[in-house]
């Protein structure tokens, strides 16, 4: 198996698992952290797919700015998701 495809598969799986955690987690701060981990896995995938321009913008936005914006919003609202 091509090593690039193998890494892509592993990172894709990690991303999917953490996306599932982020969706099902009730504690919003934890969900944001899971989402950031999922973004890291996707960033590695983008790098493997030879898109360094996208990686350079994806890492600061998805791991820095987007969780920061959500943390500010969670701080202003509730840290726990209510019952559906």
């Amino acid at each position: 198996m091509d090593i690039t495809v193998l890494f892509l598969a592993i990172m894709g799986t990690i991303g999917l698992v953490f996306a599932y955690f982020a969706v099902t987690e009730r504690a919003l701060v934890k969900a944001i952290i899971y989402s950031a981990v999922q973004s890291m896995a996707f960033a590695v995938m983008l790098y493997l797919l030879r898109a360094p321009d996208i990686v350079l913008v994806y890492i600061p936005v998805s791991v820095g700015l987007y969780p920061a914006a959500l943390f500010f919003l969670v701080g202003k609202t509730e840290s726990e998701e209510g019952e559906p």
Partner: protein, 268 residues
């Protein structure tokens, strides 16, 4: 917990089957080894020796973003600026009188790390912006990297510390607007050339067959990329200050807004 385990196992098994299947049938092809015809054309014309066919840049992605599909990027920048202006109008607030200091509630470790990261981050962001026409990167990438350290500063030292350094949303929005105006000026200069001298087109970078207008390819012996270099620098300014405006406004304590909004209601 049992349900979670089932879902995760399903995801892993499904991914494994999909990976093995795509590998056996070679449906993804050899990744990155074959270049499509359109890709070859972009690479060929990005740095053509004849300037009339070239974008004056060495980096095909930046050339596509700011030259081949330059108008798209202009509209994207407009959308970004409108979003920031919308946030600014929602969080309308006068300059805060309370002055904070660099004494935050965090321990010395995050404060020191932030202070060390600040110059490093500025250097990295500037490099990515100024080398945008040579290596991967560009204005938006550099701007978002610089914004991260701004956010870190706001989180660690609070909004008031930012205010004490004379950095407030009004001022950052002003710098963002200056960056945007500079982008518009670079776009419109060829039209001014068209009016007063020779034929030229909107957002033109290098000379064309029927137009002599062109931004310089090299500055001081280094490849600058004509208008691409200018766009990268001004986009860097606009994006970094735009993000900083949004996060500075988001970090203002809620009670300040509540008082402000209550005041507006009583006026009505």
């Amino acid at each position: 917990m049992n349900k979670k385990l089932i879902v995760i196992t399903s995801i892993v098994v499904f991914s494994f089957i999909l990976a093995v299947y795509t590998n056996l049938t070679e449906s993804l092809g050899p990744l990155g080894l074959d270049t499509r015809f359109l890709g070859k054309l972009y690479v060929y014309f990005t740095n053509h020796e004849d300037l009339r066919l070239s974008t004056a840049s060495l980096e095909p992605v930046t050339a596509i973003v700011w030259d081949f599909r330059g108008l798209d990027t202009l509209y994207e920048t407009t959308v970004f600026a409108m979003a920031i202006i919308a946030i600014y109008s929602l969080f309308r607030i006068d300059s805060l009188e309370e002055k904070g200091s660099l004494n935050s509630s965090f321990t010395i470790i995050p404060r020191l790390v932030t202070k060390i990261l600040l110059p490093i981050n500025i250097a990295i962001a500037s490099t990515i912006a100024f080398h945008g026409s040579i290596s991967p990167g560009g204005g938006f990438q550099a701007g978002s990297i610089l914004a991260v350290v701004g956010v870190l500063f706001v989180v660690i030292f609070s909004y008031y510390a930012l205010n004490a350094k004379s950095i407030n949303p009004h001022r950052t929005l002003l710098f963002m607007s200056l960056g945007l105006i500079a982008i518009v000026v670079v776009t419109l200069i060829p039209l001014a050339f068209d009016v007063f001298f020779d034929n030229a087109y909107l957002i033109q970078n290098q000379p064309k067959l029927d137009s002599a207008f062109g931004y310089p390819k090299r500055v001081g012996g280094l490849v600058f990329g004509g208008s691409i270099g200018l766009f990268n620098i001004f986009e860097f300014i606009a994006v970094s200050f735009g993000f900083l405006t949004a996060f500075a406004l988001l970090s203002i304590p809620e009670h300040v807004f509540k008082e402000k909004l209550r005041g507006e209601e009583s006026l009505e």
